[in-house]
Amino acid sequence: MLLSGFFGIPYEFRWSVLWTTPHDTWLIDGLWITLRISAISWIFAVLLGILFGALRTVPFRPLRAVATAYVEFFRNVPLLVWLFFWYFGAPEALPEPIRQWLIHHGMEFWCGVAGISVYHGARMSEVIRAGIQSIPKTQLEAGLSSGLSVSQTYRLIIIPIALRLIVPPVTNESLNLLKNSSLAMTIGIAELTFATRQIETYTAKAFEAFTAGTLIYLALCLSIASIMNRVERKFAIPGLIARAERAEH
């Protein structure tokens, strides 16, 4: 498509830069790396979130303090600073052989994964803690008084309710993670935003490149959101989620 100018400003559109060699595979490669780094970081973030979110609710003070320190320290500093720290700073503290090994085995990627998962793990554990704490104590008491053991009550009542309650906030947080993975470009990971920037640098066609990147992100986020919306509705607990849903819209 060739058009001259938009809003009265002379500009020659050349959308073909997105699919002609040598830039034809850049967007796809970038998308693949975005998905890969997001997925790996998401797994680590959820594991950290479950661990520290649960630790923040245990009735043992020192463990709670450790979990609180982790959460408050990591989520209150910008992710970008953490990425720079993990990529430029932290390897300084490692012994030389390990550092050399890392440099030869894709250090950017794993430093990016470390930064994103530790930061989002802290945020995820807040979500999970809130989920656990939002279940009234009476649920536990009711389970116990109907003859279930503590582990049965947890397994059959508390955890199923908690999992369903945290679906919306965890979805939200996961989408944040996906969007935040774009910051990995700053430490040289060739993910989607990096790819759009690279196309722009090589072809000087910023409008086309940014449009493509924006639409891909938008499609990703909206499709995940709509899938999770369906999941949420399917697993909704009638009395509880319905109220939250009305407040939402």
Binding site: I9, V77, V81, K179, L218
Partner: protein, 231 residues
């Protein structure tokens, strides 16, 4: 492996004055960007939030599309868009500070719009009915019944949003604006002490965000009529 935190002390003046406050030869500064951005974002957010609640589709849909669009793309993308588009529209080079400020206002506007909407919707319907029953008009109902309660509900979320914005301003360093992160990068390029430098700015960011989050928690307890956090 041997750390030298003296490098932090000798560069603290540049980092804090130039990077954090924006006093110096570069236009920039984390706080100088974050504070106008939250006010600008609030203005746009109120308009968007009210528009999204409007009955007329012509007002409702543009606001909804704008909010969903902005919320569906990463902030870096928005900053790049502004970085590219604003000089094209104004037909002259624009300093990074103004590019970043406009990008942040438009980006935060979408998120604050959702906060405003939720705040207004959190006021029970019965309040409006009661106000109407006592003979108040639309504007009177909004001004003296709905908005006071809505704003009270919104304030904790707004403080939280400001914390998020404060952290997000570090992204302005990507287009070269001299904020705290960029200042640390600049110093690191000269001193070659990344570990000490990034730990230091992490602590500076942390002090600000953590004290704001404590303030927000205090505010939430303070402002609830029952003097206790609402369940």
């Amino acid at each position: 492996m041997n750390f030298d935190f003296a490098v932090v002390i000798s560069n603290a003046k540049f980092l804090l004055l130039q990077g954090l406050l924006g006093i110096g030869i570069f236009a920039g500064g984390t706080l100088r960007l974050a504070i106008p951005a939250i006010f600008g974002g609030f203005c746009i957010g109120v308009v968007l939030g009210l528009s999204r609640l409007a009955q007329r589709p012509l007002i409702h849909y543009p606001a909804a599309v704008y909010i969903e669009f902005i919320r569906g793309i990463p902030l870096v993308m928005v900053i790049f868009w502004f970085w590219f588009l604003i000089p094209v529209f104004l037909r002259r080079p624009v300093p990074e500070y103004w590019v970043a400020l406009m990008a942040f206002i438009c980006f935060e506007g979408a998120y604050i719009g959702e906060i405003v909407r939720a705040g207004i919707q959190s006021v029970p319907r019965g309040q409006v009915d009661a106000a109407t029953a006592t003979g108040l008009g639309y504007l009177q109902t909004m001004w003296s019944v709905v908005l006071p309660q809505a704003i009270r509900n919104m304030i904790p979320s707004l403080v939280t949003q400001f914390i998020v914005l404060f952290k997000d301003t570090s992204l302005a360093s990507i287009i070269g604006m001299m904020d705290l992160t960029k200042a640390a990068q600049t110093v690191t390029a000269r001193e070659l002490r990344p570990f000490e430098m990034y730990i230091f700015i992490a602590v500076v960011y942390w002090i600000f965000t953590y004290s704001m989050s404590r303030f927000s928690r205090w505010l939430e307890i303070r402002m609830s009529p029952e003097q206790a956090p609402s369940s």
